[in-house]
């Protein structure tokens, strides 16, 4: 895992084979973005909210609080930053890298890489060689996050 990260930081742009389906993406390490959509299909913010909240999907709420969800969701985590205004703070390209693999930015981060299935160890049988989210779910969550402005 370390070598992957070093490689990413050393190269200006670097193509990575990301999942079992061999979805390739390019990380711009100079500004920490992934420019191109993972699917080419525009994200759906409604589906993104469901994937954001779902315990078997992103379960992002485990670590992040979102003011806009306080009425519909009981438990919001305190481990990561509040995301209520994240749509004003980050672009789609920046969000894409953070969801795909935050470890490119901070190698000690607790936040999982949601779209990487390589460089892992001791993965449970059911989850082997699978990414946590599908490429489209990542795009949907990005669309949802861009609506969060407070």
């Amino acid at each position: 895992m370390k070598t992957l990260i070093t490689a990413l930081v050393v190269a200006t742009t670097f193509a990575v084979s990301a999942s079992a389906q061999d979805m390739a993406y390019v990380v711009n390490d100079d500004d920490y973005t992934i420019e191109k959509s993972l699917t080419g299909v525009p994200g759906d913010a409604g589906a993104g909210q469901a994937a954001f909240v779902g315990r078997k999907k992103g379960n992002c709420l485990a670590c992040h609080a979102v003011e806009q969800l306080k009425d519909s969701q009981l438990f919001h985590g305190e481990v990561g930053p509040d995301l209520s205004d994240v749509g004003n703070s980050y672009s789609a390209e920046e969000l894409r890298l953070r969801i795909v693999d935050y470890k490119v930015i901070n190698d000690d981060v607790i936040m999982p890489a949601f779209f990487r299935s390589t460089g892992l160890s001791n993965v449970g049988k059911k989850f082997k060689d699978k990414t946590i989210l599908s490429a489209q779910e990542v795009e949907d969550i990005i669309a949802y996050l861009l609506t969060l402005k407070s």
Binding site: N59, C63, H76, V79, K103, I110, S121, G124, F127, I132
Partner: protein, 277 residues
């Protein structure tokens, strides 16, 4: 100086788990305990029992032996202790006498390296060694009723005494292994134990209030389980939550992790049987 927590809940203080953090736990010693529920280690870190992270309601269940839903195992264990089993017709008591004396500190010392074989033994391993080698009895299955009752009974003899595992000499390589595993990212979620239990204790992760993942209460009654469970069961639960391959009960991995965890909480009082949510 000893302050007793008894009555804190009875005072009608309705503290949430988060507010309970405001209590100076280094000054709180449960009734009959030799050491408080928290202390500051050499690095200036506050080492806290899982007790200090739980709600007053859960704490109250542990503090009162009559309310503690696992306490019957202490009585049951006392009977099992002096009941002969196996081809030798011997009971634990025949060789070890009064557990209050012979087992007084055993619960603070395990996992421990077996002088004979050089292996690292959890208390469960050691009890099974006596059953198979000294009694001609069958080994208990790790998470069986018989084993849970016996480990609760034996470790309860050390209740209130500080955890004091050895991690030097022959234990050193096992300690290093445990430490490496504790800090290694595993599972599809790619997290190490340390990410939750060192970096973010005292924070909510969704509905769960994260503790330091200490082991001084085990075997512990967990409300979610509705029964007592071993530390290996708890570690397997955490592994499952991060979508990792669970190490088997009694495995080397779980036992070296258990040693490392015990050392992190060295000096915390044994609470067996503790109550957690």
């Amino acid at each position: 100086m000893k302050l007793f927590l008894v009555g804190l809940a009875a005072l009608g203080l309705s503290l949430g788990a988060a507010q309970a953090q405001d209590i100076d736990w280094t000054k709180v010693t449960l009734e009959g305990f030799e050491v408080p529920l928290a202390y500051e280690n050499e690095d200036g870190d506050l080492i806290r029992s899982g007790f200090t992270f739980r709600t007053p309601g859960t704490q109250a269940m542990q503090e009162d032996d009559f309310a503690n839903p696992a306490f019957w195992r202490v009585d049951e264990g006392e009977i099992a202790w002096s009941t002969p089993e196996g081809s030798e017709g011997k009971s634990c008591a025949d060789c070890h006498g009064d557990a209050a004396e012979s087992m007084a500190t055993v619960g603070t010392e395990y996992p421990k390296v077996d002088a004979e074989s050089g292996e690292l033994l959890a208390l469960e391993h050691r009890i099974n060694k006596c059953r198979t080698e000294n009694m001609g009895a069958e080994a208990y299955k790790w998470e069986s009723q018989g084993m849970l009752t016996m480990t609760v009974y034996v470790r309860h003899q050390s209740r209130g005494k500080p955890v004091n595992v050895a991690v030097d000499g022959p234990a050193a390589p096992f300690f290093e292994e445990g430490k490496a595993l504790y800090n290694k990212r595993v599972g599809q979620l790619d997290m190490a134990c340390k990410h939750c239990h060192e970096d973010y204790y005292g924070n909510y992760i969704r509905a769960d209030f994260l503790s330091q993942g200490q082991s001084n209460g085990f075997p512990t009654y967990r409300q979610k389980w509705g029964k007592v469970g071993s530390i290996h069961r708890r570690i397997r639960g955490c592994m499952g939550n991060i979508r990792g391959a669970k190490y088997p009960y009694g495995s080397h991995e779980n036992t070296v992790l258990e040693l490392y965890i015990a050392h992190r909480g060295k000096g915390l009082p044994v609470e067996t049987p503790a109550v957690r949510n």
